[in-house]
Symmetry: C2
Subunit: 235 residues, 2 copies
Amino acid sequence: MPGIEKLPIEETLEDSPQTRSLLGVFEEDTAAISNYCTQLYQAMHRIYDAQNELSAATHLTSRLLKEYDKQRFPLGGDDEVMSSTLQQFAKVIDELSSCHAVLSTQLADAMMFPITQFKERDLKEILTLKEVFQISSDDHDMAINRYSRLSKRRDNDKARAEAVEDVYTARKKQHQTMMHYFCSLNTLQYKKKTALLEPLLGYMQAQISFFKLGSENLTQQWEDFLGTIGASVQK
Amino acid sequence: MPGIEKLPIEETLEDSPQTRSLLGVFEEDTAAISNYCTQLYQAMHRIYDAQNELSAATHLTSRLLKEYDKQRFPLGGDDEVMSSTLQQFAKVIDELSSCHAVLSTQLADAMMFPITQFKERDLKEILTLKEVFQISSDDHDMAINRYSRLSKRRDNDKARAEAVEDVYTARKKQHQTMMHYFCSLNTLQYKKKTALLEPLLGYMQAQISFFKLGSENLTQQWEDFLGTIGASVQK
């Protein structure tokens, strides 16, 4: 994919102000992506929750209709036409609730799963690496500071050697964490499009399947059924 | 419609124990209908609320996608392919949210309206009439009581005439309210089937329209669109 910008990992050892400034731009971009994705995640979660609630409510309605026969109505409770009509309603509404359940599952797998993974894994990883990098950066600054103070006081060689060793270790650590952090920020630039498009494609495909399932299996069957009821109600 | 039982309004003046016992059966039946309808009302309200929430969440998602262009992404925010792809997603999801909105409206008119009317008007009216009848029945009992006590004490003619007048007025009132109450209970027997079937038919017809609208207008258009995206993502 052309046109994707990268943080130069080869510059992490030198760690120049230019590199830091470029890092700032990537961090700002990451924050914007993270913010936008979180909003999209919340909207999709609302869709998903509403879809689940709709499945559950449809299923409950069907179950209530099935239980009509078990109600104790002192008058006309043994009306067979009414009873069988409601059983048929229960059956088709149950089929509809199955379609809704399939849609819920598809939304879970193809929409919620990828966007949750991106939010909880990729974006969180960057936050963690940012923190780790910050800590190793602070450690490095402290090691440098200690070393500078030593030089002024002209202490013994052993302390100086230790301070040099500390600076070396801290710089090595900082270099490593910075490389990790840069890698992770670069990876996000590659992933960000997919992260938005994948759950949207999943959503659309789930909706298309739902409409197909609904219109192919159910509507003809339903219209026949509604015709039958129209006839039996007028009896 | 054959087989529908009726309370005999012509028996309300005599108000015999047989009539009262038959009234008890009708009251029990009414309570059972009321209980069942309330459960169905609640289940349908859950469907309706979930459908509204789904419309709103779908609309929000579409709006978020439309706002993608307004986000400030320091890196690659000017990617035109991505931007136009998300605008297309926004457009089809917006169309889907319109379908959902139509479904919500139809559910409101054809499902919630009739069942709410039945619950809030017909069933409540019976409760009110039952109360009114109870009060006038108690008044009648009190008038009879006063009259009986008078007879024993052999009071003056004026008081006796007043007591007779009271009994007459109370009995007339009781007779009227009982006729009203009986009428209302009889009407319920005629209405009860329609009260259950009408919102169910409304629900089914709304769902059928929804599937038709969705599958006719949207799915072909969507599949073309998803094909285009597949191509543009691979560019």
